[in-house]
């Protein structure tokens, strides 16, 4: 049996690739399948921090690729989520330390023992990007509703198609429903109309993400986090379940505002 390798990419930096990769990986693992998260951002590793596993790193991806250690030895099991493992990036090296062929072989090897291999891609379109997508079966393109991020997403989708990673999924991150309603932010329909790819999910702008990132606990583990719930839905859709996408995400009628005022969160 062989798993599926999914690369999380965006082109532009700072749109939430690492957060998305961590939460999708954690969300998938929480629902049953085994998941390996691979930090392909060599030299600027972050995924270990977001998962709260920084102090457990002994070996990294470059060690494995260079044959210094067995991949099973380098994988770090998550402290709370049993099915989730992380292959951290090297921090003291850079993108030229590995080649696309080596990444392809590594990904192929991981697919043998995991149901899902989630690759966290670095920003940019250079070698780091080419390394990360080399072994991927599918791609998730993360964007925010800003023109600059959407433009970069378009570029990335074109490059993915050229590299034969077809039919990418799109995640629109950091949507603010109130701004969309005031027409101060692009709405998801316009974005899809422009990029013409399949929408995998919409994640609201949520302060709790910053808190959970700093604490090293993925937002999907926090039942109260709206972003966490959006990522759980995304994980469920990847598993093939039909979960409707609530495009506006937040009910904005008088009742929910009243409930919010009272501090009640509606599940």
């Amino acid at each position: 049996m062989s798993g599926t390798a999914i690369v999380v990419t965006s082109g532009k930096g700072g749109v939430g690739k690492t957060t998305a990769a961590a939460n999708i990986g954690a969300g998938l693992a929480m629902s049953g399948p085994t998941v390996a998260l691979v930090d392909a951002d060599i030299g600027l590793r972050n995924l270990d921090l977001v998962l709260g596993l920084e102090n457990r790193i002994v070996y990294d991806l470059v060690n494995v690729v260079e044959g210094g250690c067995d991949v099973q030895k380098a994988l770090i099991r998550h402290k709370h989520i049993e099915n989730l493992s992380l292959l951290p990036a090297a921090q003291s090296r850079d993108k030229t330390a590995v080649t696309p062929e080596q990444m392809k072989a590594l990904t192929l090897g991981l697919k043998e023992s995991f149901d899902f291999v989630i690759l966290d891609c670095p920003a940019g379109i250079e070698q780091g990007f080419k390394n990360a997508i080399a072994g991927a079966d599918r791609a998730i393109v993360v964007t925010t509703p800003e023109m600059s991020a959407v433009r970069d997403a378009d570029r990335i989708i074109g490059m993915l198609e050229a590299e034969e990673v077809k039919n990418p999924w799109l995640i629109v991150n950091r949507i603010r429903p109130d701004m969309v309603k005031r027409h101060d932010m692009m709405n998801v329909d316009d974005l899809i109309d422009f990029l013409k790819v399949e929408l995998l999910g919409v994640v609201p702008d949520d302060e709790s993400i910053i808190i959970s990132t700093n604490r090293g606990i993925p937002a999907v583990m926090d039942e109260k986090s709206r972003a966490g719930r959006a990522f759980l839905d995304i994980a469920s859709r990847i598993m093939g379940n039909d979960v409707p996408i609530a495009a506006t995400l937040e009910p904005d009628d008088w009742f929910s505002r009243f409930a919010k005022w009272l501090g009640i969160s509606r599940g």
């Binding site: 433009r151 970069d152 378009d154 570029r155 074109g158 490059m159 590299e163 422009f194 013409k196």
Partner: protein
């Protein structure tokens, strides 16, 4: 304009790679790679005939070029430009073969189809992708911002043109640009350049044509002899 030493040209007999035999091979290889990288798999799968502009080039050169082309998924046709097959004259046969190409390609195939002096691009051009062609270009899809279409002839976009289009790029002032939604970031016809107004404008409701009238680029609704076409 400076002559480009390495250029893909669409001709009646298919795609032709024109190289300058005065170049040194290393430089030539670099230029070819750059061209193919720009095209990002656009020409992948195509058969290419080598045109040395009549110059005799060493066979090692041809081998080197072949290797690069194959690396990018193209193949080099053995046929020399001098030994062209006689063209099919029967109109019916021509149409049948054109149809066959379309059938083989399928609607999702991104491979461009070259017929006569026109290239048919059956996909959306995304940011960073470019098509340049010595002839007319038809795009069945969108031309997104950050992408470019260059044609020495006309440009037709069966979709939204939001990127840059340059018709009549070799100086043909009769060239025009037609699109179902003509909202380009910049439009060039022959040696004239125009850009989108800075203030937000309305999206056109139908297909439009851009052409040169008295030395400036004008945009009008696309009309036929039966009247305006509304989409």
């Amino acid at each position: 304009m400076k002559a480009q030493e390495v250029i893909f040209k669409g001709t009646r007999d298919g795609l032709r790679l024109v190289i300058d035999a005065d170049e040194n091979i290393e430089e030539l290889k670099g230029k070819l790679r750059r061209r193919l990288n720009e095209a990002e798999g656009f020409y992948s799968g195509a058969r290419v005939r080598l045109d040395t502009r009549g110059a005799v080039v060493p066979p090692e050169w041809i081998e080197e070029v072949r290797m690069i082309l194959e690396e990018y998924g193209l193949s080099l046709s053995e046929e020399k430009p001098g030994q062209r097959r006689p063209r099919q004259h029967a109109a019916g046969a021509g149409r049948a073969s054109a149809k066959k190409v379309l059938d083989d390609g399928g609607p999702e195939s991104g491979e461009p189809i070259v017929r006569g002096d026109t290239i048919l691009v059956r996909r959306t051009l995304r940011s960073g992708q470019a098509v340049s062609f010595d002839g007319n270009v038809v795009v069945m899809g969108d031309v997104n911002p950050g992408s470019e279409v260059l044609a020495t002839g006309d440009i037709v976009v069966f979709g939204s043109l939001r990127g840059m289009a340059h018709a009549g790029s070799a100086g043909n002032a009769e060239a025009c640009v037609v699109a179902l939604r003509l909202i380009p970031t910049q439009l060039r016809i022959a040696d004239k350049i125009t850009r989108a107004p800075d203030d937000e404008t309305q999206v056109p409701q139908g297909p439009e044509v851009a052409y040169l009238r008295e030395g400036s680029i004008v945009i009008e609704p696309w009309t036929t002899h039966t009247g305006t076409v509304l989409v």
